[in-house]
Subunit: 423 residues, 2 copies
Amino acid sequence: MEVRRGDGSVFRGVLMPKHETSHPDTVVIKLGNGYNIGVLVGEGDDIVVKGSLRPGTPGALVPLLEEPLQPAEERVYIIGAGGTIASRVDYETGAVKPYLDASELATTIPELQRYASIEAEQLFSILSEDMKPSMWEAIVDRAARVLEAGYDGVVVAHGTDTMAFTASALSFAFHKGLPSPVILTGSQRSSDRPSSDAAFNLTASVLAASRAPFAEVAVVMHGETGDTYALAHRGVRVKKMHSSRRDAFQSVNDKPLARIYPFEGRVEMLRDDYRRRGESGLEVDNGFEERVALVKHFPGLISEVIDALLDRGFKGIVVEGTGFGHVSSDAIKSIERARDQGVPIVITTQTVFGRVNLNVYSTGRKMLAAGAIPAGDMTSEAAYAKLSWILARTRELEVVRKMFQRNLAGEVSERHILRLYRH
Amino acid sequence: MEVRRGDGSVFRGVLMPKHETSHPDTVVIKLGNGYNIGVLVGEGDDIVVKGSLRPGTPGALVPLLEEPLQPAEERVYIIGAGGTIASRVDYETGAVKPYLDASELATTIPELQRYASIEAEQLFSILSEDMKPSMWEAIVDRAARVLEAGYDGVVVAHGTDTMAFTASALSFAFHKGLPSPVILTGSQRSSDRPSSDAAFNLTASVLAASRAPFAEVAVVMHGETGDTYALAHRGVRVKKMHSSRRDAFQSVNDKPLARIYPFEGRVEMLRDDYRRRGESGLEVDNGFEERVALVKHFPGLISEVIDALLDRGFKGIVVEGTGFGHVSSDAIKSIERARDQGVPIVITTQTVFGRVNLNVYSTGRKMLAAGAIPAGDMTSEAAYAKLSWILARTRELEVVRKMFQRNLAGEVSERHILRLYRH
Ligand SMILES: N[C@@H](CC(=O)O)C(=O)O
Ligand SMILES: N[C@@H](CC(=O)O)C(=O)O
């Protein structure tokens, strides 16, 4: 369709369904570049429509379907955990709030049925900044029951802000045995906005859950700014690297698992070393310790921060050190104190990319001697979830250290990357 | 030169000076791809040398100089603050320790004299994880006295780990008036290693200090993995983004200032909006508050972390929130408590890229109402240094907020980037 406005501007594209709370005088058009815009139409403006119109549903995927779909045979279960993907703008305050429930979400996107018949359930209606380890447990429980019931895959619709933490947590809870994919997805713009990425991400996620050959916990989100493919990132490797871009998610220190093309219905694997669908049965190891903190080094009183957490009875602390993972020399006595209290201190790096290596500098060696546990090239998110998972199993320091240093779900790799840079 | 070893391997490149503590039977060769390697030479191996040899100095820049240089007329002062750039491997323990003093560093790299006559002084011999706000003050003082004495520029040789914090701090202390560049540089591998980036970075920095047209605080470090150019990053925008790569430093949410080509002696500006050399006189505003903390949101007890810091009398806290800057709802009462105690809470984002926006979601709006100060698209490093600088001037909450939200040194930009993504 085409809108020719009195001011001379012309907008050409596919007419998109609009939400009931949109301004009554706008039409929403998907432009050739993939972006949706809302165009205010008034007197003196012409609207030229070609083809048929279809009653709108918020955030539906183009092209509009002329015929109702025959749902695919695969069965996918969507667990709603809140977030922007389940949100609408509250037109009174202008703020975005979780609103839709998961089944509403599913029915507003009929295209999902191309890849699976969908069932959906709302578990939480929160923004993901309110996610807690006890809620990770609830998601694991629910997903486990779904998989026991024989579904082909699970999609967890989740806020993007702490999705990397939850994805890591789920990876550890399911690392002993997972027969089918568990996909986390979300959106950077709420479903009622014309530019929402909700439908694209959810469709890609249902496709991955129903048909991808991997049986892993993965995050599926836009892979580039256009609408061509989503990327499936291993849950323990993913990080949200931008506050607002649709392609904000990246795999850190590792390759993504796959590209997912939701329009073509195609999954392209990007690596070979993944757990195959159906290869193992379900073995759940659920449970997370909440009294774990994540802090970071800064030039000053980091030792006081660690001391304050020890005073408050935290049971484990992840410290994002600098560079290879260093903290200041005066913080080393706090690391010793933690060890004496039986509290593990795990070290990641605030450079995001690269890896902790406490063997190069004198500071690092002293940290190791004081009991610090280096996290290799793990993300801080994965290290946090892993420590929380381990501490729900044992508090014996030496056992914690051993479990931490074992690769459980692909969260850490050998140091071949580093070697490239050493002589 | 060429080494042909008995095992059939051939190494061809430029002979590099080696350090006295290197293995006596190695020669160090700079290969065609820019990398230096140490080759163990034994009986049955041939060494073919073309051209002249020159007694070695650690980490010297190739090509070897045939003639002693006539030092350039510009005068640059190097302040040594420790770090890997001033370190050697301790061959007893194998660990790297700060060792060289700044003038030793300068004389080992005769190529520096192409761009300036050098004076140098050692201020600290620490690894930069031990840097503190009081040391920022000492660097500012020293650099100010050097600039008053009429030098064309200052180079601060510094550890890379917390360089972004120090660069930000210096930017605020000098934001009112700086006649010449203040360049921070360092190296990812110590000067005695054949693959060290020390000579390259230091030469590029001396070139920038003596001849670049900008009069700003900048970090000059390798711009790519080869040896073509270094990048000059605005001090308030830079971040170390990899634990070990030579091109680990990036400008975040902004373009670098310039490319510096140390072999060609060329400075290529990448933007127009910079402060010109000689445009303003020197106006120093030194002084930093040490009782400021930097922490980050995680799914759990972030409210307890904030409370613990308030209990300990911290005077300001920077919280790296998630996404647009959110923290959990239950942490909002801790933000309120901070306000009631007169302690500013500044919010940055842990996505690294993008910007804080507390107006979109209900959580953000509640945070604003509780008194949180959004840091826009500032890095956490810049926000930390800025809050520390402001708190050394005022503790009145409303004045802190106003000062914080003013752009002082290019640390924050308008939200045009975000607008691209909203409809
Ligand atoms: N604050 C929201 C943002 C999002 O979903 O994109 C959340 O994480 O729940
Ligand atoms: N730990 C060292 C690392 C370096 O200089 O690269 C420092 O920051 O001082």
